[in-house]
């Protein structure tokens, strides 16, 4: 039996303001992928999405249609800016091949999770918005729609192509940040270093400021707002793939090209220095980022042996920034703390070897889990179940769920205030009471580890 996984059907960005006249509807399309699909079908996709929105607004004017399920696909609609709509259509997974009559192929219609799919669309927009600013603000600053179309094409396409649509799991829904637990001394030491660097440079360049610091894929410290941190963390960990062996996975990093447009490049081999600036004479390649305010800032990322530091500076101050001096002060400080961070990082593993769990704290977005996304512990059944339980928690309809599946896997999930805790056991013969004891033991150990360490 051939099984086809969920995959991208199409992705469209359109402006409902354009192409209002009959016969000009195709002008609404700002970006469509895959481009092999003809303009007629592109216009149809926009048309039906507008119809869904218009129709659902009659009942739900504040929140029009967000999700559409058909036999063969699942769609998510997102309206991030006035008049700007994004539609992601994902093919449902299917078993078997369709005969001439179209039968013989069975679609698995409820595998794609609504929350995870919505999150996926939001993230695509977020990445676009971070490096390009809003579409409407581009237009209001004088870009033509033609320019926007071109920019969308060059920026969104490569990003879209690397998304694995069959892996929209709980990790993508939670979109959390892994924190590195460090002891007070180390924390204060790092805090001091960063403060002194900040102060040192702010004397001459007022707009210079520290953003976040990571050790491998774990966050140590951030001076940004939570959502800004989440966006940049997500970019560094999931796209640039900091802290991972660059040869094992494909990396993607935004740099400005010679036309001053943000463009995707692959990150080169591991090195020490400013990773998004090929050499010290290429300041113009540093990308701009749009965070909460509408004022873009230049993003500088420095790598020092698995420690990653991110700084922001106003574009007008950039020419005066002495990169050599910055690098020097960073090397000095972090050469000293790096070994300690490394030992902290490795210490994590003790609890993690014993249990398969996911811990998430909505308040600080902290996520902890030894389970690798896309790993063998997350088979389809578990992935779906976790997604469903998370949905129940989001609805506020449950605070604890315990499931024993047909395959004798126990999944225990609890929600306490803003925290979600999921733990899995493969003890076939345990009773629900024994599992409950196991969970008690595990949570005791876990929270000791979480707070005391």
């Amino acid at each position: 039996m051939s099984i086809s996984k969920s995959s991208l059907n199409y992705w469209v960005i359109y402006s409902s303001k354009l192409g209002q006249k009959e016969g000009t509807e195709h002008e609404k399309v700002l970006f469509f992928y895959p481009q092999t699909i003809g303009i007629g079908e592109q216009t149809n996709a926009v048309g039906i999405s507008e119809a869904y929105v218009l129709f659902s607004k009659q009942f739900s004017p504040e929140q029009p249609c967000e999700i559409i399920h058909t036999q063969k696909s699942t769609l998510s609609l997102y309206n991030p800016e006035e008049d700007i709509w994004m539609v992601l259509s994902v093919n449902n997974p299917a078993i078997g091949t369709a005969g001439k009559d179209g039968k013989g192929r069975e679609y698995i219609e409820d595998e794609i999770n609504d929350i995870a799919l919505k999150k996926c669309v939001q993230q695509i927009y977020q990445v676009w918005n971070t490096f390009n600013g809003g579409i409407n603000s581009m237009i209001s600053k004088g870009s033509t729609y033609e320019m926007v179309r071109k920019r969308l094409d060059s920026f969104i396409k490569p990003y879209l192509q690397q998304i694995q649509f069959d892996q929209l799991d709980l990790f993508s829904s939670l979109d959390g940040i892994k924190f590195l637990p460090v002891n007070k001394n180390i924390y204060l030491t790092i805090f001091n270093y960063i403060n002194s660097v900040d102060l040192n440079f702010q004397n001459s360049l007022a707009s210079f400021r520290f953003g976040i610091v990571l050790y491998k894929d774990h966050l140590i410290l951030s001076s940004l707002e939570q959502n800004e941190t989440r966006t940049l963390y997500n970019y560094l960990v999931n796209m640039v793939k900091v802290g991972q062996d660059p040869s094992s996975s494909q990396t993607m990093m935004v740099l400005n090209n010679s036309n001053n447009e943000p463009t995707w490049y692959t990150k080169g081999q591991r090195r020490t220095g400013f990773i998004n600036m090929p050499d010290s004479n290429s300041k113009q390649h540093l990308p701009l980022v749009w965070l909460t305010d509408d004022k873009p800032q230049v993003m500088i990322i420095y790598e020092q042996k698995d420690t990653f530091l991110l700084f922001l500076i106003d574009p007008s101050d950039l020419p005066q920034l002495e990169f050599d001096e910055l690098a020097q002060s960073l090397v000095q400080n972090f050469e000293f703390v790096n070994p300690t961070l490394e030992s902290h990082y490795n210490k994590r593993a003790i609890f993690d070897e014993q249990y398969k769990y996911i811990y998430f704290n909505q308040m600080n977005l902290a996520i902890k889990s030894p389970i690798k996304p896309r790993g063998p512990d997350l088979n389809k059944e578990t992935m779906k179940l976790l997604n469903e339980i998370h949905e129940e928690f989001e609805n506020g309809s449950s605070s604890e769920i315990i499931v024993k599946t047909q395959h004798d896997r126990w999944i225990v999930a609890k929600k306490i205030d803003f925290r979600e805790f999921y733990i899995m056991f493969d003890n076939k013969n345990s009773s629900i009471l024994e599992i409950n004891e196991e969970v008690k033991n595990a949570t005791n150990k876990f929270f000791k580890f979480l707070f005391i360490d």
Binding site: N44, I48, A51, Y52, F55, S56, K57, Q58, F59, S60, E62, Q63, P64, C65, E66, I67, I68, H69, T70, Q71, K72, S73, G102, I108, E109, D110, E111, D114, K380, E381, K384, L385, E388, E392, N395, S397, S398, S399, E400, I401, I402, V403, K404, T405, Q406, H407, D408, S431, I432, L433, N436
Partner: protein, 496 residues
Amino acid sequence: MDENNIENKNIENKNVIDEDNSKIEKNNIDDNSIESNNNNNDSNSNDNNEEDEINNNIINSSNSIEDISNYLLKIDESSGRPPRKYSEQDSSNPEWFEHKKHFFILSSSGKPIYSRYGDEVALNTFMASLSAMSSFVESQNDTLRHLVAGKYQFVFLCKYPLNLVCISSTGEPNQVIRQQLEYIHSLIISVLTQSNMKAVFEAKYDLRDLLGGTDKYLDHLIHQLNKDFSILLNSIQCLRLNNNVRNQITNILSQYKCDSLLFSLLISDNKLISQVKHKKTTSLKSQDIHLLMNYVSSTASFKESESWIPICLPNYNDTYFLHLYICFLYPGVCLLLFSNQPESFYQLSDCKNQIIKGLEQENIAEELKKAVNNHDYTTSITEIPNLLHFLYKNKTNNYSTFPTFSPPYSIHKKEKKRLFRLYQHITTHVNSNIIANKPHKYYYHTSQTETIMVATSNNHELYATFSPLETKKSIFESFSNLLLWIKNQENSLFIQ
């Protein structure tokens, strides 16, 4: 309705009712006519009767479409049914959009057939837009399932030549709403048969005309779907009855039969007392039995006299009608006899008389009447402390049992509904396994208001509700005790 208006020569209406003693007077019946017993005061059942005749006509006549059209022309449009609730509303009223749960039936070409709220004709444009959405998806060789917009869900069920849509803000899982639409679809089939429906639709006749009077069955069914645990579990609830008494009843039902008799059922409200299959044929599915119960409980006139209606059982065979004899033996006890012959009314009526005689001879009638009054039980009967409610389904025969609501649920209607909705979610989650297509073995849910524990095996599903303050240990114990209690009571809870 003045039945004399009908001039179609294939139809001769022969129902004369003696209102005083509700007996049927025999009249000359020709091949095409059906015998029906009506309460003349009930205009609804007259409508129904009229459509039954059409149905019968469709089966028996070779050029049936022609006949129907003649027939339809003669229908006296002015014979109005009593106005339905909210019938004055349509999509131009803001209040119309406020209803929590809309149901629509339209033909595949977009013609309105039914709307739960408002007049379906006035909703013409609205229905056309519903139809446009699903037909657009169909034009891409795909099928629209459901949309989500905020707290609203729009669930579509496309079954040629019908489209059924539910628009709901009740927060029910879409799978449950889909099941409800399936039920509504079967009800339509049971009135028309799938083959007739296709034929009529393809001949471009308005299906609505053939379904006049079905509204009240639909309204009633929708209401029932919103609160019936046995439907939620895809099962049938049995009347609690002493095993010996039930066996005697079953024996009597199997004993008194005639050649054309396929099934004998004895029901009480929406509970099954006994069923007997007389021929080597497939058994009745729970969905069909629920449709029958819906017919019986939504037609007041059935209580008055013997009735004879053609009915299609969609899960038995959706291409033809069976003929159903309906008679209340005692208050709350209704006998249903199915025949494949349109003219076996009198044989079946004889069967009924013998059955009554049998019941009286063995002194079962009293026991039965008592059981009807004593069916309802609360969790206290189980003597399990802190048990608030439960649902049990025996999966080998699809029978289910559950107590009536007790405090805290019995106090407010809202709480009953909340528990019902919660069970809807939990049954959906328990059965959501995509790969093995089997339910999870255990499911345990805790919220601020209750804890529900579920265990499933090849033979049963048990959902038990406790206070959220109970420890897992005591819930686990109570749960095992409850299973034991049900095992011990199986003889009276279920038909064996």
